[in-house]
Amino acid sequence: MDRTKAIIGSGAKFVGAISNVKSIEIDGAVEADLQAEKVTIGQTGKFTGAVNSELVVIGGSYDGMMMAGSIWAMATAHIAGEIHYQSLQMDRGAALNCRVVHNWTEETSEEVAEENAEDAAPEA
């Protein structure tokens, strides 16, 4: 029981809010708002709702607003809604029917601003 991993088994249906999770694996159906360090949506998993997480691995279907550091969409993934990410990996076959937004961190936006300034300088 000391494992810091929660599992929503296949055949289970959760409705509500889930919080204070480190790592969660979802193989059932979940309609919830979720905040976690790591989220895995298994092939049989179906998640509807907002996710805020460092790492999200999607093998099932997702619909909602996702804010994530890294997203890995596996070949069996179906994603709808809106995803915000800092890094994204997509396997061949993953279905994304959603808004995809790259989250600028302060660091990256400064880098881009500098690059733009360097590009613009010679023209001036």
């Binding site: 929660a6 088994g9 296949s10 289970a12 959760f14 409705v15 919080s19 480190k22 179906k46 279907s61």
Partner: protein
């Protein structure tokens, strides 16, 4: 339950583990087993439920077999209920078989469960809710 359940027919329902530190508000319906080590406010509907030592549940349980090692405040409907010595229970019990270990903290109202006429478990919950 699934829209995309091409595979789930062959797969046996697996157990769900609600980790300690985890907090859920809402309802959980499962064809399989649930181990609750975290905190749940709401309703659980499943086959086998284990409320672990650290687990806490506020709400209603509708489960064939229930084992309580943690804390439950609410009502239970089902077939079998076991309350372990570390368990704490407050509420109403409507089950066919009850086992309470010595040391358990139980404050409960027992309701009669008609063995032969007992309707489906889901129906009982609705009656209680009214």
């Amino acid at each position: 339950m699934f829209d995309n359940n091409r595979k789930s027919n062959e797969e046996a329902p697996t157990a769900s583990l609600i980790d300690k530190d985890m907090r859920i508000t809402g309802s959980v319906v499962s064809a399989g087993d649930i181990i609750l080590a975290g905190v749940l406010d709401g309703e659980i509907n499943c086959r086998n439920l284990v409320v672990a030592d650290n687990g806490r549940l506020n709400g209603t349980i509708n489960s064939q077999n229930t084992e309580i090692c943690g804390e439950v405040i609410g009502d239970i409907v089902g077939d079998k209920l076991q309350i372990r010595s570390t368990g704490r229970f407050e509420g109403a019990i409507k089950v066919e078989g009850i086992e309470v270990e010595s040391g358990a903290d139980v404050t409960a109202k027992f309701k009669k469960s008609r063995r032969n006429k007992r309707p489906a478990a889901a129906v009982i919950v609705e009656e209680n809710a009214e």
